[in-house]
Subunit: 99 residues, 2 copies
DNA sequence: AATATATTTAGACGTTTGGCTAAATATCCC
DNA sequence: GGGATATTTAGCCAAACGTCTAAATATATT
């Protein structure tokens, strides 16, 4: 999993809201977009960022694409989050962010 | 606490590494900077972003400024993080990210 | 096959970000 | 006070970001 992409995905408030919406159950792109005053293409971009971070998955059903939380990765994301503040040296993390 | 600033602060890998360093105990600006191949002024900028998010606090001791984790806010940050994926509607969050 | 609907891709544009150097500020020590 | 050290502030620049519109793609309907 790409640490960096997870945190970047979470940096945008719209994307966090998308995640909260999806936490209640799967929704298609149009249903999600309705909740925002943002153009379809821009929403699509947000979906792709969340997909790149592996936080959501999409499945096509006819004309629509239904998105849902990738729950296993959400678990991992929480671990990552804790690691940011953890006293132990986490090799995986240290390596990723080494200069 | 400014939700948005916390997540933006965490979006940068160097800043996450600063937090991990500080999780082991307080350090002054110079000690932290030594760990990075980034100029002093750029490091100072990172400190100010972390301070703005209230994730760290600085105290002056002579010529040096010692930074440490703002542990209470770190707790809050974890809550925020969980809320991103929570099924319940969190009013505080929803308001912040409303379009 | 033609049309309508849902979504993504491509490309442009203004803003924000993270880096730099140079200069300013604060403290210490002689 | 004057010089050295630690850190921040100011201003610049290139790259990344979030948004948009227009065009492309995929599926459904007639």
């Amino acid at each position: 999993m790409a640490i960096d992409e997870v945190f970047k995905a979470l940096a945008d408030p719209s994307r966090r809201r998308i995640l909260r919406l999806l936490s209640k159950g799967e929704l298609n792109a149009g249903q999600i977009s309705q909740e925002f005053q943002i153009s379809g293409p821009s929403m699509s971009h947000h979906f792709s960022v969340l997909k790149a971070a592996d936080l959501i998955v999409g499945r096509r059903d006819g004309q629509q694409i239904f998105y849902s939380l990738n729950t296993t990765v959400v678990q991992d994301a929480m671990t990552l989050f804790f690691d940011v503040f953890s006293k132990e040296t986490i090799e995986e993390n240290s390596r990723d962010t080494k200069d």
